[in-house]
Amino acid sequence: MADNKDKPFFVGYLTAPDGLRSFLIGIGIGLILLMAGVGLGIGATQDDPGNGAFRGDYGRQTVTGVMELTPYPVVRVTQGSEHVPEGHTLMLSAGGKQSLMSRVRDLDGQLVTVSGTILDRGELDMMQVRGGQNGISRAEGDAPEMDSEDLGRWRIAGEICDGKCLAGAMRPGTGIAHKACANLCLIGDIPPVFVSTQPVEGSEFLLVVGPDGTIFPKSAYDLVAAYISVEGKVVRHGDLLVFHLEPDTAELVQ
C-alpha cells in the first residue's frame, strides 16, 4: 500500500541496498539508544520503598515479656534489649510468610523469652523469631498482669498491609502491586497492620484483628492494599493499638 516505486527493495538474504543502509544503521543505533534511555528513565524514577528493613546490623535481640495472643502473638516486654525497650509491645512472626501461632498456643499470658531478628520501619517493628527453643521459651518467674484499654469505636482511613513486609521484609511491601503477596502473608497468619492516614491516639500503625478478636477474616482479604475507610473498636495493648476491624463497614476511598 505504501508507494514503494522509487524506494530501495530489501531482500533479507541479500546485502541491503545502498539507499537503505544508512537508514537501517540509524534505526539500529536509535533502537539501542531508545532502549537504554527508557531503561534509565523508568529505573531511575522508581518510588522510594520506605525505610523498612531487617535489622541485621542490630544483631540478634533477646527479650523477656508476657505473651499475649491478640490472637496474633505479641510480647509485652518486661526486660528489653539494646534495641527493644522495656514496656514495648512487640509483634512476632516466624520465618518467611509463616506465623508463630502453633508454637505459642499454650503460652498466652505466660512469661517468655523470645529471640530473633528485628524488622523496623519508623514506629513499626516486629521480631522474626528463631526456630525451636532458641527462639522462644518459658522464662523463670511469674508473669505480671498486663492491662489493655478500650479506646472506643473509630472510623479510620488507610491501607491494610501485612505487618512483616510493611516493616521491611520486602521493599516495597505495600500497595496494590504487593497485594497478592500481602494476602499470602495473611494466609500464613502474619499479623496484619492498618496504616492510618491520620494518627490514631498518636499511632500511625495498628495491628488488625477480626471484629470479635479473631484472626483477620478471609472475607476481608479483598480490602487488603486498597485505600479504605472502615470502623471498629480500638484497644491499647501497651504501646500497640489493636484495631478490631469490622469488614461490613468498609468503604473504598477514591
Binding site: M1, A2, D3, N4, K7, F9, F10, V11, G12, Y13, L14, T15, A16, F23, L24, G28, L31, I32, L33, M35, A36, V38, G39, L40, I42, G43, A44, T45, Q46, D47, D48, P49, G50, N51, G52, A53, G95, G96, K97, Q98, M170, R171, P172, G175, I176, A177, H178, K179, A180, C181, N183, L184, C185, I187, G188, Y221, D222, V224, A226, L252
Partner: protein, 347 residues
C-alpha cells in the same frame, strides 16, 4: 527459503538484526539493573528481586510495543520492511525476557510460604469482581502463556504444518497478549505510582502503538488495492501500460483474494498475491533474477507458473490473463498452484 527444516537459517542480515536487538535488550537491562540503583536516592534500596523483576517487565513491554509498531510502520513506509524480516526472533526474545520477569515475581512475592508458589499465584488474590485490587498477575500470566505459545510455534515448521492462514490467525493472538499486558500494568504497578515517568511513558507508548495501527488502516483504506471491475466473466485489473517493468499491480477479486499482475520482459503474468510462506504481499515485491521476490522474507516464484525454483517446492496459484483494448483482464477462477500460463505480450 529452505528445502529442509533447520533451527535458524542464519544469514548476515539476521546476525546483524539479532545483534542490534540483543544490544538493545542488554543496554536496557544493564542500565536499569546496574546504573539506576546508583542514581536513586532512597534511604534503603528496592529489593534486588523487585528491581530486577521491574527491569525485565518494563523491557518486555517495550519490546512488545516495538514489535507491534513494526507492522504498521512497514505498511506506511517500506523502508521499515527490513525490521519485519526477522521479527520472529524479536518475539522469541520478548518471551524469554517476559519469562524472566515472571520468574522473579514468582520466586519473590509468591515464595517463602507453606502454600506452593503456583497455588499461591492462583489463590492468594481472587478479587476478580473489583478493578481496584484485581489480580493483575493473572493478566500477566495469560499474556506470558500467549507469548510462549507464539514463540514455540514461530518456526517455519509450524507455519507449514498449520498452513499460513491458520498460523497467521494464531499469531494475531499477539494483540490479545498486548491488551492483556496493558491491563496487567494498568491494574498493577501503575496503581501505586507517584513518579510520573512510568505512567507517562506507558500511556504514550500504548497510545502510539494504537495510533500507528489506526493510521496504517486508514492509509490502507485510502490507497488500498482496487476492486477489479467485471468485464463479462473476466475482471479488469488496470491498463497494461500502468504496470512498470519488474513490478506488479494488485487487484481485489470478487472472492476476496488478490491477484498480482507482473510485467516481466515486456510480458504480463498473473499470480496470487499471497506468498506461500506467510501470505506476504507478492505484488508489492519485485522481479529479481527473473523471479518474483516477496518483500517480507524474500521467497521467490517464477512468474509464469507460480513455482519456486528447484530445489524449493513452494507453489502459488496462477491466473489466466488477456489484454483487450489495452486493459488487463484476469479470469477470476484461479488455476491450481504451479499451473503454467503463457505470459501475454503487451500489445
Amino acid at each position: 527459503m529452505s528445502v529442509k527444516y533447520i533451527p535458524v537459517q542464519w544469514n548476515p542480515n539476521k546476525w546483524i538484526y539479532d545483534g542490534i536487538m540483543l544490544a538493545g535488550v542488554a543496554a536496557f537491562l544493564w542500565v536499569f539493573i546496574h546504573v539506576t540503583p546508583e542514581i536513586l536516592s532512597h534511604e534503603r534500596p528496592i529489593n534486588s528481586q523487585v528491581h530486577n523483576a521491574r527491569a525485565f517487565g518494563a523491557c518486555a513491554f517495550l519490546m512488545l510495543s516495538i514489535i507491534l509498531a513494526i507492522g504498521p510502520l512497514a505498511k506506511l513506509d517500506t523502508r521499515f520492511m527490513p525490521l519485519l524480516y526477522n521479527r520472529r526472533h524479536f518475539g522469541v526474545m520478548t518471551a524469554f525476557v517476559a519469562t524472566a520477569h515472571a520468574g522473579y515475581i514468582l520466586n519473590w512475592y509468591f515464595a517463602f510460604s507453606f502454600v506452593p508458589k503456583w497455588d499461591a499465584l492462583i489463590l492468594s488474590n481472587t478479587n476478580y469482581g473489583q478493578l481496584l485490587g484485581f489480580p493483575f498477575e493473572a493478566l500477566g500470566a495469560f499474556a506470558l502463556v500467549i507469548l510462549l505459545i507464539l514463540a514455540a510455534t514461530s518456526h517455519d515448521f509450524w507455519l507449514k504444518f498449520l498452513t499460513a492462514p491458520v498460523w497467521k490467525r494464531l499469531h494475531y493472538l499477539i494483540y490479545l497478549a498486548y491488551v492483556s499486558v496493558v491491563a496487567h500494568i494498568s491494574l498493577g504497578i501503575l496503581q501505586d505510582q507517584q513518579s510520573l515517568f512510568l505512567p507517562v511513558f506507558f500511556i504514550v507508548t500504548a497510545f502510539l502503538v494504537a495510533l500507528l495501527h489506526v493510521w496504517a488502516y486508514l492509509a490502507e483504506r485510502k490507497t488500498g488495492d482496487p476492486l477489479a471491475s467485471a468485464e463479462g466473466d473476466w475482471m479488469r485489473v488496470c491498463q497494461a501500460d500502468e504496470i512498470d517493468e519488474g513490478r506488479a499491480r494488485i487487484a481485489l477479486l470478487p472472492d476476496g483474494k488478490r491477484v498480482a499482475v507482473f510485467k516481466h520482459e515486456g510480458k504480463l503474468s498473473a499470480i496470487s498475491n499471497a506468498c506461500a510462506h506467510q501470505n506476504g504481499p507478492l505484488g508489492e515485491g519485485r522481479i529479481i533474477d527473473c523471479l518474483v521476490t516477496c518483500p517480507w522474507h524474500g521467497f521467490q516464484y517464477r512468474v509464469t507458473d507460480g513455482q519456486s525454483p528447484a530445489p524449493f517446492t513452494e507453489k502459488i496459484p496462477t491466473y489466466n490473463l488477456r489484454v483487450q483494448d489495452g486493459a488487463v483482464l484476469v479470469d477470476p477462477k484461479a488455476n491450481p498452484p504451479g499451473t503454467h500460463v503463457d505470459p501475454v505480450e503487451v500489445a
